[in-house]
C-alpha cells in the first residue's frame, strides 16, 4: 500500500516525534498548548502535524492539511516537498522522504539535501527539548532588567527565547534558525561562519531601510566582542534577520554568518526583546542544567567580585591592581594606562562603601573560562550609579579582569 510505504519512508522522522510525545507523558509535563504551538512557529507546528498523520498512514488528511498549509505559507519549501510526496504517494509507492522523479532529483540535488537536513533538524529540536526548569549553563544569573535572553543551539539549528520572570528565566518560544554556509566558530572576516560566544543585541534596524533580502527586520549583535578581539577575530555585521520574499525559511547552513529566522518568527522576537539588555548566547551545543545547579558557580564568582569591590571601596590601589590581568586591555589601554583612571575613581569615593545592583553573570567556556559581568555600581546612600561591564578570565582558582568599561 502506498500509504504504508510512505509511512515507512518517514518512520525514522516520525519515530522521533512520537518518542518525544511519550517522554512528555512520562514526565507528566504538559504537552505544548495550542497557544504555545501558535507562538513556536505556527507553520512548523502544522507541518509536524502533517508528519504525524503520515506516520499514522492517514495520507488523505495529510494531503488536505498540506494543501491548506501551502495556502497560508506558499513559499515554505519543506511543506511543498511534503505535499509533493503526498501527491506522488497517490500514484506510486515512495522510497524516501523527498522522493522526486530522477530528473528533478538530479537537478535539485543540493536543494533536496538542504530540505531533508532542515526537516531532520526541526524534528531533532522537537525530540530533544530541554526539560522544564532547566537553563543553558551559561546563564548563571540574569538581572531584573534583562527582560529576555536568547540562546542558540547550532547543533539543532534552534533559537530559544526566554522571558526573565520574578522566579527566573522561562523558555517561552523556540524557532528553527539558519546559520553560516560554512557553519560555526567564526574567526576571520568573510569566512561565512557564525560566531560562538556571549553577545548582546546592540540595535534594531528598521526593515524599511533594509534590502528585501533581510525580510521583516534585523537585530545586530556585538560581534566581535571583547574576548573575540583579544583572540584576534575579525569581521562584523552579524545580525539576526528575516528571510527574503518567496522564501519562508532558509537551509540550515545558508548565510554569510548571520542568524536567519522565518519572518513571522523574527517579528515575534523583535516585538518582545529590548536592545542592549538582551543577551544572545550562541553555542555549538547547549548544555541544559537545572537552574538551582548554577548557584555554587554563581556564589564562587560573586565572592571574588565582592573581594574586588571591597578592595575598590578601601581605596588600596596596590591591592585593587591584583584583580586585573597582566594582559588587561581597555580599548588599547594597558593596565598601567588604566590604573590612573581607577586611582581617580577611588579618590572620588573617599572611603564610601560601594554596592552592586542588578548583577548579570554570563559564563562562556571554550579553551578558557570567561565571565561577562554587568552590574550597577552604586555608592551606599546613592540612588543611582554607573553601569559597569567587565570581562573576567579564570586563571587557576583566581578570576582576573581583562576588560572593563563604564556606560552611563
Amino acid at each position: 500500500m502506498n500509504s504504508t510505504a510512505f509511512a515507512c519512508a518517514l518512520c525514522l522522522l516520525l519515530g522521533a516525534v512520537q518518542t518525544q510525545a511519550k517522554v512528555k507523558n512520562k514526565k507528566t509535563k504538559p504537552a505544548l498548548t495550542a497557544s504555545q504551538t501558535q507562538q513556536n512557529g505556527a507553520a512548523e507546528a502544522r507541518l509536524i502535524a502533517i508528519y504525524r498523520l503520515i506516520g499514522k498512514g492517514d495520507t488523505r488528511t495529510a494531503l488536505k492539511q498540506a494543501e491548506q498549509l501551502l495556502k497560508t505559507n506558499p513559499s515554505f519549501a519543506l511543506a511543498q516537498l511534503t505535499y509533493a510526496d503526498l501527491l506522488s504517494a497517490q500514484a506510486r509507492p515512495l522510497q524516501a522522504f523527498g522522493d522526486a522523479p530522477p530528473d528533478q532529483r538530479i537537478l535539485g540535488h543540493d536543494t533536496l539535501a538542504d530540505l531533508r537536513s532542515e526537516s531532520l533538524l526541526r524534528l531533532k529540536a522537537l525530540r530533544e527539548r530541554p526539560d522544564a526548569g532547566t537553563l543553558p549553563s551559561e546563564f548563571l544569573k540574569l538581572a531584573a532588567h534583562n527582560k529576555h535572553a536568547i540562546a542558540i543551539d547550532a547543533s539543532l539549528a534552534r533559537l530559544y527565547l526566554f522571558e526573565n520572570r520574578a522566579n527566573g528565566p522561562v523558555l517561552v518560544a523556540d524557532y528553527y534558525i539558519s546559520l553560516g554556509k560554512l557553519g560555526i566558530d567564526k574567526r576571520v572576516e568573510g569566512d561565512q561562519r557564525t560566531p560562538l560566544g556571549v553577545y548582546f543585541i546592540t540595535s534594531q534596524l528598521d526593515p524599511k531601510t533594509l534590502k528585501d533580502f533581510y525580510g521583516s527586520g534585523a537585530l545586530p549583535i556585538n560581534y566581535p566582542n571583547v574576548l573575540d578581539i583579544k583572540r584576534g577575530k575579525t569581521g562584523g555585521g552579524i545580525w539576526l534577520h528575516g528571510t527574503p520574499p518567496g522564501q519562508f525559511s532558509r537551509a540550515p547552513l545558508a548565510s554569510n554568518g548571520c542568524l536567519v529566522l522565518a519572518n513571522p518568527d523574527l517579528l515575534s522576537i523583535v516585538r518582545q526583546v529590548e536592545i542592549r539588555t538582551t543577551p544572545v548566547l550562541i553555542s555549538k551545543k547547549l548544555k541544559w542544567v537545572p537552574a538551582a545547579s548554577l548557584k555554587p558557580s554563581t556564589h564562587e564568582f560573586t565572592s571574588q567580585l565582592h573581594a574586588w569591590l571591597k578592595a575598590k571601596s578601601s581605596g588600596n590601589l596596590t591591592n585593587l591592581a591584583t584583580f586585573y590581568a597582566p594582559d588587561f586591555n581597555h580599548n588599547g589601554k594597558s593596565l598601567s594606562d588604566w590604573l590612573p583612571t581607577l586611582q581617580h575613581e577611588v579618590s572620588t569615593w573617599q572611603g564610601k562603601s560601594l554596592e552592586i545592583k542588578d548583577l548579570s553573570l554570563l559564563r562562556w567556556v571554550d579553551t578558557h573560562e570567561t565571565m561577562v559581568v554587568t552590574f550597577g555600581e552604586v555608592a551606599r546612600g546613592q540612588r543611582s550609579g554607573q553601569t559597569r561591564r567587565q570581562y573576567w578570565s579564570r586563571e587557576g582558582t583566581q578570576w582576573k579582569i581583562f576588560y572593563e568599561s563604564v556606560a552611563s
Binding site: K56, P101, Q104
Partner: protein, 347 residues
C-alpha cells in the same frame, strides 16, 4: 505498523451491496429484508435467511455476496474470503467482491493481496481502469509541479503535459453488449456512476483529446519485421511464446507499428470501442509515456489447432506507475504469424 493497520481498517470501506445488481432483481424484497437484518446486526438471522435463499438459488451473486458480508461481520474472515474469492471466479466482472476481498486482506495486513484485489476491482470496467490510470498520471504531474516549487527548479524543464486517454464511447448497458450476461438476475452490467467521458468532455476536461487526424497509418502494407519465426510448425507453442514476447517488447519500445501489428484484424477491443478508436487510445497512451517497461513471467500457452491462449503475469511500469497483473491473450494463426484476437486482464 499498529497505527497503519487501524487506519486501513477505518478507511477501506466494505461494500454491503452489489449496487449494479440490486436494483433490478425479482427477489428484491428478500434481499432488502436480509440487508435490514444485517444493518440491525442480527447476523445469525440474516445468515439463516441467506442460506435458505441459496438452497433454491445456489448461484445467485447477490445472496452469495450478502453471505460474505455476514461472515465477515460475524468475525469469520477466512470463510468470508472464500465466499468472495469464489464470487470473483464466477463473476469476474463485478468489482464489489474484489473490493471486499481487499478489505479482508488489509485487515490481516496482507497488503500485497489487498492491492491486487483492488486493482482487479478497477479493471472490471475499462472506464474505471482508464480513469484510474489517468488519475495516476494527473497526480504524478501535480507532484512534479510541487517538487519543482520545493526544489526551486524552473517549471519549464519538465513540463511535457501528460497524454491522458480519452474514453471515446460511453460504456453502454448490456442492450447491445456482446459480453456474456452474468445471470438473469444480474441483468445489467455495472455502469459507471458518473460517465467518465461524456461527449462534452473534450471541451471541458483538462484532457488532451486524441485527434482523429493523428491516427497512425497502419503499416499493413509495409512489411512489418515479423516478430515470429516463420516456419516452426514443429513447435507451435514456441511460436506463440515468441509472438507474445515480441508484443511485450514492441510495447516497451513504444514501437507502435509492431505493437498494433501484433493484433489480429479480428481483434475485439474492450468496451465496444471501434478498432480505430482503440488504436488512437493505445497510441496516445503508449507514446505519451517517457519510459515503459513490460516484463512477463509465468507464461503458459494452451494450443488448440489454429488458436492459442497465452496467460502470464505482466509487470507494467510506466514513468511513475507500476502495476502488476495477470493477463490472457487469445491468439490465432494468421499465415505464419500468431496474432492477438482478445486481450483480457485477470483469469
Amino acid at each position: 505498523m499498529k497505527l497503519t493497520r487501524t487506519f486501513v481498517l477505518k478507511t477501506l470501506r466494505l461494500l454491503t451491496m452489489v449496487s449494479a445488481c440490486a436494483a433490478l432483481t425479482s427477489h428484491a424484497d428478500d434481499y432488502a429484508d436480509i440487508s435490514q437484518l444485517l444493518q440491525a446486526n442480527k447476523f445469525s438471522e440474516a445468515l439463516a435467511k441467506v442460506d435458505s435463499q441459496l438452497v433454491t438459488k445456489p448461484a445467485d451473486p447477490q445472496f452469495r455476496f450478502l453471505k460474505g458480508v455476514i461472515q465477515r461481520n460475524m468475525g469469520k474472515p477466512a470463510e468470508a474470503i472464500s465466499t468472495f474469492t469464489k464470487l470473483t471466479e464466477d463473476y469476474p466482472e463485478l468489482p464489489e467482491p474484489y473490493n471486499n476481498l481487499a478489505v479482508l486482506y488489509a485487515s490481516q495486513s496482507q497488503y500485497d493481496k489487498a492491492r491486487s484485489a483492488l486493482e482487479m476491482a478497477i479493471r472490471t470496467n475499462p472506464s474505471y481502469a482508464t480513469a484510474h490510470e489517468n488519475l495516476g498520471d494527473v497526480y504524478a504531474r501535480l507532484a512534479s509541479r510541487a517538487y519543482n516549487k520545493a526544489l526551486q527548479l524552473d517549471n519549464g524543464n519538465t513540463a511535457v503535459p501528460p497524454k491522458l486517454a480519452l474514453i471515446r464511447e460511453l460504456f453502454k448497458p448490456n442492450l447491445a453488449n456482446p459480453r456474456p450476461v452474468v445471470t438473469a438476475a444480474a441483468s445489467t452490467t455495472p455502469m459507471p456512476v458518473a460517465a467518465p467521458a461524456t461527449p462534452s468532455a473534450p471541451t471541458t476536461a483538462p484532457v488532451k483529446p486524441v485527434s482523429a487526424a493523428a491516427a497512425p497509418a497502419m503499416p499493413q502494407t509495409k512489411t512489418v519485421p515479423a516478430p515470429v519465426p516463420a516456419t516452426v510448425p514443429v513447435n507451435a507453442s514456441k511460436a506463440v511464446e515468441a509472438a507474445v514476447m515480441a508484443w511485450a517488447k514492441a510495447w516497451s519500445a513504444k514501437d507502435m507499428a509492431s505493437y498494433l501489428a501484433a493484433y489480429s484484424p479480428e481483434f475485439d477491443p474492450a468496451g465496444q470501442q471501434s478498432r480505430a478508436a482503440w488504436e488512437q487510445v493505445r497510441t496516445a497512451r503508449i507514446t505519451g509515456k517517457s519510459r515503459i517497461s513490460v516484463t512477463l513471467s509465468d507464461l503458459q500457452v494452451k494450443l488448440t489447432g489454429e488458436t492459442a491462449v497465452a496467460s502470464f503475469k505482466q509487470a507494467y511500469k510506466a514513468d511513475a506507475l507500476s502495476v502488476s497483473s495477470r493477463k490472457t491473450l487469445n491468439m490465432h494463426r494468421n499465415g505464419d504469424r500468431w496474432l492477438i484476437t482478445k486481450e483480457s486482464t485477470g483469469r
